[in-house]
């Protein structure tokens, strides 16, 4: 399984902080995983289509073509605003 995490307004809008997704051919990249999750329904599609959405694969900010494997932790979140 791929452990998927959501933070900040992405988490709030989806109403979920974590979900588990079965690894497959379709989820073999960060973009593939995003597309698979976004296909759930209209709301999820909208939230996960945000043009400023960031992805971290195994706790490192990553590009959308980064490979994703079974057992990975993948997080989707908006631009960071700490400090």
């Amino acid at each position: 399984m791929i452990n998927v995490l959501f933070f900040a307004q992405v988490r709030e809008l989806l109403g979920e902080s974590t979900i588990a997704i079965e690894a497959s051919e379709a989820t073999s990249t960060a973009e593939g995983l995003r597309a698979q999750i976004a296909a759930k329904d209209e709301k999820w599609g909208k939230v996960l289509a945000a043009d400023k959405l960031l992805v971290a694969v195994n706790q490192t900010i990553s590009s959308w073509d980064t490979p994703v494997e079974d057992g990975d932790e993948v997080a989707f979140f908006p631009p960071v605003t700490g400090g």
Binding site: P78, V80, G82, G83
Partner: protein, 154 residues
């Protein structure tokens, strides 16, 4: 560099600036100590703010902060480095973040402190939710912060 020179903490409770100053300022080889403290401000983009809630990504946050300190140490001769960032809900005027840097000379300490806060703001996974007279709003990332971090690129 010894990891014991770094003090990097994410916590809900407040911190004491005198205590944190004392922690890093006890080495007589350091001629300079620079501290930055970030606080909850009373307005943002024209709206009144009453409190602020900080969310973060446990695990990744600490890893990114450690990496930022490694990068600062590669650029400047630093001795002690402290980063404390609070999470949870904070009232107006409360302290959010402490950055403390010591070095033999002031230029390295000033530059490293500014570098650390600029990189923290654009790379560490923290998010601010502001509550105010118009309800709650997630703070938008600012282009100015991104530009400030880019200024440090070699």
């Amino acid at each position: 560099m010894s990891a014991s020179l770094d003090h990097i903490v994410v916590q809900t409770q407040d911190f004491s600036v005198p205590d944190e100053y004392a922690r890093i300022a006890d080495d007589n080889s350091d001629g300079a100590v620079v501290n930055f403290i970030g606080k909850v401000r009373d307005f943002n983009d024209g709206s009144a703010v009453t409190d602020l809630t900080l969310e973060h990504y446990p695990g990744m946050t600490e890893a990114v902060l450690h990496q930022i300190v490694v990068e600062a140490r590669e650029r400047w001769p630093l001795n002690k480095v402290t980063i404390i960032h609070r999470v949870g809900t904070m009232a107006l005027g409360e302290q959010i973040v402490f950055i403390g840097v010591t070095s033999a000379h002031r230029k390295a300490a000033f530059a490293a402190c500014e570098f650390l806060i600029d990189f923290l703001k654009t790379k560490a996974p923290f998010w601010k939710l502001e509550a105010g007279d118009k309800g709650s709003n997630w703070v938008e990332a600012k282009d100015a912060d991104e530009q400030a971090a880019k200024m440090w690129e070699k």
